[in-house]
């Protein structure tokens, strides 16, 4: 049986070169489906990864109770001082609590080769931020000085927007501020932001309250202690979230939309490719009517015939998946773009991520199309009456 399958399959595969045109229909059809699907899903995955990788389990972000994001939250300074003293908050070597109240605003910056404004985040913080967000480090220039109108820009923002080099001026509030440094945070969402000194921003924007407070906890387990202390304090109307939970939740709407688009397009295109695959395999079987009938006359069973046709379809489908996946990887992996995340109303720079898991998904879709596309022609080939088929020549 195995031998029969091997013999028929080998014969089929060897004859592919003589049917290059029709065989290519399956390969190219499936390459198109897999390529488009993987590219779109890689876009959704890259976007979600950028937000989901932001923050640490042992840090918490505190906002006004009911606020969906930092932009719409207000935490007055007195409350920020109270929560910094709460149990569970870590201290630095000088014994000061590691908690920073931050301003979160937007300013207009144009993309490269464009003039239209984009909502870029201006985060008013302190130079201490490098101790709090220890993943952040300066890669060029220096930190802004306390109280001075100076800017450090995230490397992601620098790549996507024009005029964000050291020495350039960027409009923050009450005019343009000079850029003195560039920072990176390991590819998370903060790299799309620009950071300034909060006291300088308070004066320039005439705002007195913070938008959020980010605190370093003693360890990940102290989150509950800290959260309970804040939520049970009658003076405070604040909500506490673990940093990764908060940032991940801000990618849901957009991530789901892109992923949904990816799957919808893949399903519709997949159906189109399936019809193509059916056509090819029917043609493949038709041109080999005599060979198949001869084998059957020699005593080959119908199962090997069915399996051999299925295998042929699978091989072609996998070849298509490889080509489509490779094209998606070559053209899109690491391709960085910036879009408006409508859950935070601000620009997020992110890179497409063509992961192994996505490529495997592409392979699975290809195999499904190949299997269904091969099944009906295979059954027809096996059912053909031997005598009629031989006479067909």
């Amino acid at each position: 049986m195995i031998q029969q399958i091997y013999a028929v399959t080998a014969m089929n595969l060897r004859s592919i070169p003589s049917r290059l045109g029709t065989s290519a229909v399956i390969v190219i059809g499936i390459a198109g489906v897999v390529g488009v699907m993987v590219a779109l899903l890689a876009m959704g995955a890259g976007f979600q990864a950028t937000l989901a990788s932001t923050g640490e389990d042992d840090r918490a972000i505190v906002m006004r109770s009911g606020s969906l994001d930092e932009l719409s939250s207000v935490v007055i300074r007195e409350h920020a001082a109270i929560l910094a003293e709460a149990p569970g908050v870590a201290s630095n070597s000088a014994g000061e609590p590691l908690a920073i109240g931050e301003l979160f605003m937007l300013t207009n910056v144009a993309k490269h080769d464009a003039v239209e404004p984009n909502n870029v985040v201006v985060r008013g913080t302190t130079p201490q931020v490098l101790n709090l967000r220890h993943e952040a480090r300066l890669v060029e220039g220096r930190m802004f000085q306390p109280g001075v109108r100076e800017v450090v820009v995230g490397i992601g923002a620098q790549r996507q927007f024009s005029g964000l080099q050291i020495g350039d001026l960027v409009e923050v509030r009450e005019g343009a501020w000079p850029i003195v440094g560039v920072f990176e945070t390991g590819g998370d969402v903060h790299e799309s932001e620009i950071w300034v000194d909060r006291e300088a921003l308070v004066t320039a924007s005439r705002r007195s309250a913070w938008n959020s407070v980010t605190v370093q906890l003693e360890d990940a387990a102290s989150f509950t202690t800290f959260k309970d202390a804040i939520t049970s304090d009658p003076r405070l109307k604040l909500q506490v979230q673990r940093e990764p939970d908060y940032y991940a939740s801000r990618s849901e709407a957009m991530g789901q939309m892109i992923t949904g688009l990816g799957y919808t397009v893949a399903v519709i295109m997949g159906i189109g490719a399936l019809f193509g695959a059916l056509n090819t395999m029917y043609a493949a079987v038709a041109t080999r009517t005599v060979e198949i009938a001869t084998l059957r006359a020699l005593g080959f069973g119908s199962v090997p015939v069915v399996i051999s046709v299925l295998l042929e379809a699978l091989v072609l489908a996998l070849l298509g998946a490889l080509i489509g996946g490779a094209l998606a990887y070559l053209f899109f992996n690491g391709y960085s773009v910036s879009t408006l995340n409508f859950q935070t109303f601000s620009q997020v720079a992110f890179a497409f991520r063509v992961s192994g898991a996505l490529l495997v998904q592409g392979m699975i879709v290809a195999c499904l199309i190949g299997l269904v596309g091969g099944l009906f022609p295979a059954v027809r080939a096996a059912r053909m009456p031997v005598a009629d088929a031989l006479r067909a020549s």
């Binding site: 404004p117 019809f275 029917y282």
Partner: protein, 387 residues
């Protein structure tokens, strides 16, 4: 035309193959229809925006608030006909994913400036006089099953009530619509009274989000915008004014290259399809060499054979394109209902014409090589080979 039966018969010579090919073309045009409609919905905001309206926001970001007092100052500017304003409420109904915008506005001037909105006179009067009144677009009322008199709870994302609570409630006193159904996705929101909002909120009193001015002469839009910004330059609240079209356009640009991504998908789909259909056409002609030779023998000219094969390709792609687009047109209303912000989802005339031209092009590309082969057919060779 008299060859139509012949073309028709040739097309259905191998039914399963023709049907399968046709179905893949149908699928491609279905995808074309859906994606074009989505793309168009993104762009309607730019196309339908009034050329005679200016939007004035904070200089650094639309999220900066501006003093309420600017309203009178903008109204007094030369060339400005009437002015209204709106703020971003940023709340949600029941859960965060039920998203639609809510704007506290001055009811009368809002409907004056946005003249493309239609609302019953009595309902507008009720909106003006009811402190906790709200009006919603027809699309929203349909989606959430609201009717006049309903009390709609909105949870504040930004503005708590004076007591710190986030639970606002509004009385539905009116439902508005747009004159042009295509503009519906542009006006899918809830409006409430600014006066009530300003009194009831915990902080931020005396500020609004942005101003919308209707100007007398669209030609002067640039100058008036400059004049408005100059008026407030060097004040604590500087402004940035632009035409509504430019404003919507720049907002669209913020999304990144949605259009480009959609066009790339369509490009990939059509390339794939071209290959698929082209292959079937070649195969079909190859199988019929003998028959075509017979036709030539009984007096058909090379030119007629060329036309016959081309007509076959055209018939295939046109029928498939029409079915695919018809399917898309049939599915779109249902999709629009389930996609917040996409109420206008539909195929316009331009989309139909472009699709039919694409089908024509597709037929030419896939039909021409086999058609030329049929035209150049040598009777003797063909008949001896396929006898």
């Amino acid at each position: 035309m008299k060859y139509l039966p012949l073309v028709w018969a040739a097309l259905w010579r191998r039914k399963p193959r023709t049907i399968l090919t046709m179905l893949s073309v149908v699928v491609a045009f279905l995808l074309y229809g859906l994606l074009t409609a989505v793309n168009a919905a993104f762009n309607t905001g730019v196309e339908l925006s009034g050329a005679d309206r200016l939007v004035t926001t904070g200089k650094y970001s639309i999220t900066q608030v501006l003093p309420y007092g600017y309203w009178q100052q903008v109204k007094n500017m030369d060339g400005v006909e009437q002015v209204t304003f709106a703020s971003w409420f940023g709340g949600y109904y029941q859960e965060e994913f039920n998203f639609f915008p809510q704007f506290p506005v001055d009811p009368q001037s809002y409907f004056d400036v946005y003249s493309e909105l239609t609302i019953d006179e009595d309902q507008l009067r009720a909106f003006v006089t009811t402190r906790t009144g709200a009006v919603v677009s027809k699309t929203l009322a349909d989606r959430y099953g609201w009717s006049l008199g309903d009390r709609i709870p909105i949870t504040a994302g930004i503005w708590p009530l004076a007591d710190g609570s986030n639970s606002w409630e509004f009385d539905l006193v009116g439902i508005f619509d747009t004159r042009d159904p295509a503009a519906r996705s542009q006006h899918e929101y809830m409006l409430m009274q600014h006066e009530y909002f300003d009194e009831a909120r915990q902080f931020g009193q005396g500020t609004v989000g942005w101003f919308i001015s209707q100007i007398r002469d669209p030609e002067q839009a640039g100058q008036i915008a400059q004049a408005i910004d100059a008026q407030f330059a060097n004040s604590p609240n500087e402004t940035r004014s632009d035409t509504e079209k430019a404003f919507n356009q720049s907002f669209l640009k913020q999304m990144g290259d949605i259009g480009l991504i959609i066009q790339s998908i369509l490009g990939a789909v059509f390339f794939t399809l071209l290959f698929l259909t082209g292959n079937t056409m070649m195969q079909s002609v190859r199988e019929r060499i003998g028959e075509l030779a017979v036709l030539k023998t009984i007096g058909f000219s090379g030119g007629s054979l060329l036309m016959i094969v081309l007509a076959e390709a055209l018939l295939l792609t046109l029928m498939a394109a029409l079915i695919g687009l018809g399917l898309a047109a049939f599915l779109l209303p249902g999709l629009a209902e389930n996609m917040p912000g996409f109420s206008g989802l539909a195929l316009d005339l331009e989309a139909w014409i472009t699709a039919l031209l694409l089908a024509l092009l597709l037929a030419l590309i896939v039909g021409l090589p086999p058609a030329l082969r049929a035209q150049r057919l040598s009777i003797v060779d063909a008949l001896s080979e396929h006898a």
